[in-house]
């Protein structure tokens, strides 16, 4: 019923969606077209699918469950260093996998700090390798992201609501029931879904911490098909299954989420009168300390290993760093354009938006190997793929960061629309005026966060660059891998620390730029 209005927003949104579809499904199609012969999925493949789903679900559940009290604690408290802590907590997520895994093992491994401490009191070293290790690692990676996304939800509750609750003498339990739980009901399914999707494609973490071939994920099965058998049809079908699993998860999560209608507020900074009790202070302090310790100790281990090597970094590092920054900048630009186009279309045209939103989330679930191969197959007949290595990397990184951008932007944009939409319509604000005067200023915080994530992720990601790599044009993560492959582990640790520092700096610059009212 009713025509879909053909507006500029609608067209931009559809164009962005089609671009994402081309990159995720189009590349799989390219691989399928090239494949010869049929496929058969063996029992190994089904076992891989089962394991992938199971570890992703558990990891996401635990991450989200732990993130809620931490986010609540951060939302309620103000203390010196809070902003720095929030930024630093984003670090595990943006590190290259191999660096983060080694850092995690430096703390929790068989000869890590915890094992050494246990050894002093006479216990055996902890056995981290197994399903629990995989989940621990995933929680380490994703808890910060979950916390930030849920924190954004908390900060979206207008200050007036808390003021009203304080006037009505509401207890913390009342506030939880009336204000916080509805907000969580809106935010949690989406957060769970994003983390679930990230964990489905986690390959190196699952394998290294899983302890053995039982920890085979679908991504590893794709590697097997591609490298050992050159069975492109099997690789493509597995990639499609991965996309299907994720599409289903995305659809379910987005249906479950109940958007919250908060009503307009006046942007006063939030004061929480309910949070002044001692018991709550202690609990919040405990949660924040635990989270900070868990997330920051492996980072400290990485810093400790890398600091001595910073003095004699190979000279190629600086060119590689500059290249990484350039690619990151490009990724940020592409992410923001795609994300804004899709967000505005989703919010203004809800019926069309219901189908556009899941498409935006598909990219994390796409296999990097299949995307790279598909892109290679598409580009090879047209031009030299190596010449396009850096722009292609930027594009793929941008599409991979898109889900997080959407997760941050869509709720905020929906809120802007519900609060000010009617006012804007009544004033006849349309087009650029609406965008520049209403939407963008109010979206500054989630835009900053999205840009920060996109930039930092792009810096730390190898992405598809290995298939297109130009020997002379290494980015920083590729340089890191090359150093490790050449036995130079110490120098690699130094480069890892540099990468960590640069990624955090990029994250901080964009994130700080988006913070209005110094609220987060």
């Amino acid at each position: 019923m009713g025509r879909v209005a053909v507006t500029r927003t609608g067209i931009a949104g559809v164009a962005a969606t089609l671009a994402v579809l081309a990159l995720t499904f189009g590349t799989v199609a390219a691989v399928l077209i090239r494949a010869e012969g049929g496929f058969r999925l063996g029992p190994q493949d089904w076992a891989a699918i089962r394991f992938t789903l199971w570890q992703a679900a558990l990891s996401a559940l635990l991450s989200v469950a732990l993130a809620v009290p931490v986010a609540r604690a951060l939302a309620r408290r103000r203390f010196p260093g809070r902003a720095v802590l929030v930024t630093l907590m984003g670090a595990p997520f943006i590190l290259p996998v191999i660096v983060a895994v080694l850092g995690l093992l430096a703390v929790f491994g068989r000869s890590g700090w915890v094992s050494q401490a246990l050894g002093l009191i006479g216990f055996d070293p902890i056995g981290i390798y197994g399903l629990h290790g995989v989940i621990l690692a995933h929680v380490f990676f994703n808890l910060p992201l979950a916390t930030r996304l849920i924190l954004q939800g908390w900060l979206a509750i207008p200050a007036e609501r808390f003021r009203l609750a304080a006037t009505l003498d509401a207890t913390p339990r009342d506030i939880s029931r009336l204000l916080e739980r509805p907000m969580l009901r809106a935010v949690l399914p989406g957060t769970f879904m994003v983390i679930f999707l990230i964990c489905t494609t986690s390959f190196a973490v699952a394998l290294t911490l899983g302890g053995g071939p039982r920890a085979t994920t679908v991504e590893l099965a794709i590697y097997h098909a591609f490298r050992l058998d050159f069975d492109l049809s099997r690789a493509a079908v597995l990639a499609l299954i991965q996309l299907a699993m994720s599409g289903a998860a995305a659809l379910i999560a987005l249906r479950i989420a109940v958007p919250v209608v908060t009503g307009a507020g006046l942007d006063r900074s939030v004061r929480r009168w309910d949070a002044d009790r001692l018991a709550l202070r202690v609990i919040d302090a405990l949660w924040i300390t635990l989270a900070a310790t868990f997330l920051l100790t492996p980072l400290a281990a990485i810093a400790a290993r890398g600091l001595p090597a910073l003095a004699d970094l190979p000279v190629q590092v600086w060119a590689a760093a500059w290249r990484s920054l350039w690619v990151a900048g490009l990724s940020v630009a592409v992410t923001l354009v795609l994300a804004l186009a899709m967000t505005l279309a989703i919010v203004r045209h809800p019926r069309m938006g219901r189908w556009m939103e899941p498409v935006g989330y598909l990219a994390i679930a796409a296999s990097p190997l299949v995307i790279g191969t598909g892109l290679f197959l598409i580009l090879f007949p047209l031009t030299d793929p190596v010449a396009l290595a850096l722009p292609v990397t930027a594009l793929v990184n941008a599409v991979m960061a898109l889900p997080f951008a959407l997760r941050a932007l869509v709720p905020a944009a929906a809120e802007v629309e519900s609060r000010f939409g009617r006012l804007a319509d009544s004033l006849g604000m349309t087009g650029t005026a609406r965008l520049t005067r209403l939407t963008l200023p109010r979206l500054r915080r989630p835009l900053g966060f999205s840009a920060a994530l996109a930039g930092a992720l792009s810096m730390g990601d190898l992405g598809v660059v290995t298939l297109f790599a130009d020997p002379g044009q290494a980015t920083l993560p590729l340089l890191l891998y090359r150093l490790m492959a050449a036995y130079r582990m110490d120098q690699a640790a130094g480069v890892a620390l540099l990468l960590l520092g640069l990624s955090l700096a990029v994250f901080w610059i964009f994130d700080r730029g988006g913070r209005v009212n110094a609220d987060v």
Binding site: G210, G212, V386, P471
Partner: protein, 331 residues
Amino acid sequence: MFHRRAIIAALAALPLALPAAAQEKPVLTVYTYDSFVSEWGPGPAIETAFEAICACDLQFVAAGDGAALLARLRLEGTRTKADVVLGLDTNLTHAAAETGLFGLHGLGDVKFDMPVEWEDDMFVPYDWSYFAFVGTRGADLPTDFRALGASDAKILIQDPRSSTPGLGLLLWIKAAYGDEAQAIWEGLADNIVTVTKGWSEAYGMFLEGEADMVLSYTTSPAYHVIAEDDDTKVAVPFSEGHYLQVEVAASIASSDRIELANDFLRFMVTDAFQSVIPTTNWMYPAVTPTGGLPEGFDSLIVPDTALLFGADEADHARDVALDEWLTALGR
């Protein structure tokens, strides 16, 4: 008016001027794996050495590791830009020969310094090493697979589906034990700390102390001795013998520069190329350079027996071994 005409005339003349200025040297494109072309690998030195004698422009194209290299070639097919492919190993030569892309090398007169006779007329070896477990000097480490299975020693290995050394270990046990390979793996199940995606993760974890031994090469300790003056890392000799990894190169039959490609292959077995290999690729050169091997290589263990599947047997052995491995490790 005058200025504009002058500028247009100058621009029009430019295309005529450029070809004269850009003296085109023939370009030889060599596809190889990533660690070969890195600044710390053999690539740069070899590029300089070859360009000095060939009056050409040598360009490397990197593609992951050996298996990824072959996969890329299959994707490109006959339209490949490659003239030479360098970096496949003996586990891949059969599949590579079946693509029909490669030409014969015609270097039958070369004497190689390898533990096995080289009879392949399509692929030329350029370096080789033995797979071995690397541990710490002085530790009490088992010296064969059965002893390893029975002991408490903790080992780090790589997944054969994503890593070349991982595949090497698989074939090593298969070559040494044949039908008993699965039983050997079942014995090793409790020794394995974890299986990593690639060599770097496993070796990095070993250096951090996560396990007693890691699967690597007999030549790995040479790096620590030569570059770090550290002789605490040793390869453990196994009585069954050690599996060989031989890395090879070949020319693409359909290449436009087939003569230059064959020149490169011949250059590959000369001193100029081979002397670069030991301290950049950390493998034994296929033809020992006249200056001999660097000092650090003297302390390396030399196994009595070298195990190697022939090109045609390797594929089948690999499939059987992989199934046994997955079954034994309780998939």
